[in-house]
Symmetry: C2
Amino acid sequence: ARPRVGYFYIGDHHAKDLVGDLFRKYQVKDYKSLPVVVHEHTTVYDAVVTMFLEDVGTLFVVRDEGVLVGVASRKDLLKVAIGQSNLHEVPVSVAMTRMPNITTIDLEATMYDAARKLIEAEVDSLPVVRCGSEQQLEVVGRITKTTVTRLVVELGSLRNV
Amino acid sequence: ARPRVGYFYIGDHHAKDLVGDLFRKYQVKDYKSLPVVVHEHTTVYDAVVTMFLEDVGTLFVVRDEGVLVGVASRKDLLKVAIGQSNLHEVPVSVAMTRMPNITTIDLEATMYDAARKLIEAEVDSLPVVRCGSEQQLEVVGRITKTTVTRLVVELGSLRNV
């Protein structure tokens, strides 16, 4: 933040404030990625294969009507995978974190809220949800630590354009 | 970035520039976490256990003298874990990404460089290294997408203090 022609030097304190301002203005709905979902009856083996094929670190687990029932991270699946279970028989629902213990983020929330939830809940990925019929959560996207890190890189690269 | 008493309104474009400025000023050496390392002869099973005990997503693999020889992510270990191998026999070196295919970050680099490398290399964690004896890399820390996300949250929380 050194002085440059055409800009006011505003000091570091205010510069830090602005990071929060920007992330509070950017909305989850504009930065979310596509969610990768599996059915709750999917086997752990097939869930891991889906994870590799889709190249994601977290799967969202749904019931027939697309209702969110759980989240399965690489950590969850790795825990089952090193156990004695037959991965072709155990369903992903055994390994996943279940509702209501899942941290979700609202479609209308800000990227700052999303970043804060990722840190506070100690998770890599948040399902972006909206309320479907009968007050059940429908998954419409995902926000991850990658989304936040990429946003920092994109903002910082403006200077080099 | 609405106008407030005592501050100049500087506009969104400059606000975005400042994100890059801040991250280019913050240094890896001030934000790095402790690295979690395992020896290259550790079994995949023991590596996974270490990962859970230390609660990290990535292990750095070293040779006797502490020289970095590889990086093992949850993804790498999960790939081996769903295979037919005996995890108590296979060494972590079979699963890891090896030097020179590892993306590292220098102790003297900036947090912006670290964020950019995390995105470009598509990894969750970077070993922070310095040159040891005989031009070999020594691991002295780690920077992850969590480090970057936490920094965003901390900067943004100043406004609420």
